[in-house]
């Protein structure tokens, strides 16, 4: 090009004036939460996992394993054992879906639109988490409803019971950052799903969710004692039953939640910002 066109471009003075205030940020998150909720409204099938999984799993486990574990006719005792553990499992299963959701979003042009708009880029991810926590609470409510039908009893008082729900929700929300990171890193939703299962299965079954760990070999028992799902299940169990150690498993669960969030959230947000 000729020298004449190579003058320095005119730039408006001042720094980047587009900083987004907290109120605007909340409004954006609100609009994006509404978007995710509307998606569910238009595609009710996407709620099947949250609605049906707790029902199917609790029935299967209680009637397949319950008799074997606590003697025929004593399934109710297993309900008391299983339901708190399944609260931990629900969180993980719902969290998994967020990864495939994020991945699919990126394969469509709509993410380009969000990223060229004057909104904080993290608001897209935070809205996703808000909606998934909502789904998680619905799944937990259904699970507990089924539990009550099958004879679950709250023996530790309502505050402790609510504490169990809060703990499993907090941990589930922390897990979502792992799956968001996976969703942003891997190429296809199928890969995200496959990878998530790989993480999920050992954590779920190598835990105290389905069976007491006393009969497991030493190495596995060692694994379960640090497995956050195990600790979450133990904590929830003790809270609902009103007896047993609460502080130790709760602390380990919270430590995991904090560590997971502290490591994967910044990575996920950065990945999201720089994604091409």
């Amino acid at each position: 090009m000729s020298a004449a066109t190579l003058t320095a471009p005119r730039v408006k003075p001042g720094a980047d004036e587009g900083r987004i205030g907290i109120r605007a940020n909340l409004r954006h998150i609100g609009a994006l939460v509404r978007r995710n909720a509307m998606q569910i409204k238009h595609d009710p099938e996407s709620m099947f996992d949250a609605l049906l999984m707790p029902i199917i799993f609790i029935l299967l486990f209680v009637y397949v394993f319950g008799g074997a574990m606590f003697g025929p006719g004593n399934q109710q005792k297993y309900v008391q054992y299983l339901v708190p553990g399944m609260m931990a499992m629900m969180g993980m299963n719902i969290a998994m879906a967020v990864g495939t959701g994020v991945n699919e979003d990126f394969r469509k042009g709509v993410m380009d639109r969000f990223r060229t708009m004057p909104i904080a880029r993290s608001s897209v991810l935070i809205a996703k988490i808000v909606v998934e926590v909502g789904r998680m609470l619905i799944a937990t409510a259904i699970l507990l409803g089924m539990g009550f039908l099958l004879g679950l009893k709250i023996e530790g008082g309502i505050p402790a019971f609510l504490g169990a729900i809060v703990l499993s929700t907090v941990f589930g929300a922390a897990l979502m950052w792992i799956f968001i990171l996976l969703g942003l890193t891997l190429k296809t939703p199928q890969a995200v799903q496959g990878m998530a299962m790989l993480v999920l299965m050992p954590l779920q079954f190598g835990s105290s969710i389905f069976a007491p760990t006393k009969t497991m070999p030493g190495w596995l028992e060692g694994f379960t004692s640090i497995n956050p799902l195990s600790n979450l299940a133990d904590a929830a169990r003790a809270l609902i039953k009103g007896q047993g150690a609460v502080a130790h498993p709760t602390l380990i669960t919270l430590a995991w939640a904090v560590a997971i969030t502290a490591i994967t959230m910044p990575l996920a947000v950065r990945k999201f910002r720089n994604k091409t």
């Binding site: 004036e17 587009g18 900083r19 609009a31 978007r35 469509k108 639109r113 990223r115 004057p118």
Partner: protein, 329 residues
């Protein structure tokens, strides 16, 4: 919009390799190039989706690298792939975007209704965008880009894959936006689209600018249109070429016979030349079965400007193509 020496590479591939652009306020710049030329990468750099590796770009007074947030308030982007949420209805898409642009609930509602009306989508307002036809989706996409009344619009191949009728609808909307004062950067693979919409044209290939100027200047350079004449008797092709050459019409040179196609091709620039050629043939008593005119294809433009085929035609497995596919995915 002033772009100077913009460079963006992916690994070893320089997708955009030192591009300069100038777009005056309220005008349309067409960026013409084949797949893999770097058009999409260029648009993504200018719309803050990618950070360029070198060079500078100032859009509406904002530096794309240093003031991305301020810039995002003034731009609208319609990509090659409609950037709307397919699971939401048309209305919900537009309402959401209004809210994200800090309109009040009432204003966002009003603006969504208004834009649906304007883009003839009112009847489809409540249907999920996934059920829209390709043209409707593209219109919704344009509507979404217009919600915030952007001063600068990027249209990345807005009509690729659309049928001619829908394409015309999109063109009309773009022309209307320009009348209302928008500055537009349009990328396209079609000479016809550039001719319809753009004031100025930049031709790029392999990430570099290979030609630029007003549309009519470039057209003159590549010979404007091609007039195709089909004689009733295929055997008369060569005699027709001879007759046109003998007539010595102003600005007409290089008529050729296409024996396989059974036509004579005459490059022309004006309608007067068309009339002149046809009347010469009529006076000489040739019987014509059909005539038609064609705008030069992108390949012909490239051939005329560079003397080479497009990089796409030359090597369809070119690395930059693969990069392009990755970037746009």
């Amino acid at each position: 919009m002033e772009v100077r020496g913009l460079v963006k590479h992916f690994g070893d591939v320089r997708a955009v390799d030192g591009v300069d652009l100038d777009v005056k306020e309220g005008t349309v710049l067409g960026v013409l190039g084949p797949n893999g030329a770097g058009k999409t990468t260029l648009v993504r750099c200018l719309s803050t989706l990618l950070v360029p590796d070198a060079g500078s770009a100032v859009v509406a007074g904002f530096d794309v690298v240093r003031q991305p947030r301020a810039l995002r308030r003034t731009i609208g982007l319609t990509g090659q792939y409609a950037s709307v949420d397919e699971k939401l209805s048309g209305w919900e898409n537009l309402y959401m975007i209004g809210r994200l642009l800090d309109l009040s609930r009432k204003d966002a509602r009003g603006r969504a209704d208004e834009m649906l009306e304007r883009f003839s989508l009112t009847e489809a307002a409540k249907r999920p965008a996934a059920k829209y036809s390709g043209g409707m989706r593209r219109r919704l996409d344009l509507a979404a880009s217009m919600i915030g009344r952007p001063a600068v619009l990027y249209l990345d191949e807005p009509t690729t894959g659309l049928d001619p009728r829908t394409r015309n609808e999109v063109w009309e909307e773009v022309q209307r936006m320009v009348r209302e004062g928008a500055t537009v950067l349009l990328t396209t693979q079609y000479m016809e689209e550039a001719e319809q919409l753009a004031n100025e044209l930049t031709v790029i290939d392999r990430g570099r600018v290979i030609a630029e100027g007003r549309v009519d200047e470039l057209k003159a350079k590549v010979g404007g249109r091609t007039l195709q004449i089909r004689p009733s008797e295929p055997g008369e092709l060569d005699r027709m070429v001879g007759a046109i050459a003998q007539a010595g019409l102003d600005g007409i040179a290089g008529a050729t016979a296409d024996h396989d196609g059974g036509v004579v091709n005459v490059p022309i620039i004006s309608d007067e030349q068309l009339t002149a050629v046809v009347s010469v043939l009529g006076q000489r008593g040739f019987s014509l079965a059909g005539i038609s005119t064609h705008l030069p294809s992108l390949d012909e433009v490239f051939l005329a400007i560079t003397g080479q085929k497009t990089s796409e035609a030359a090597a369809s497995e070119d690395a930059s193509d693969q990069q392009y596919a990755e970037v746009s995915a």
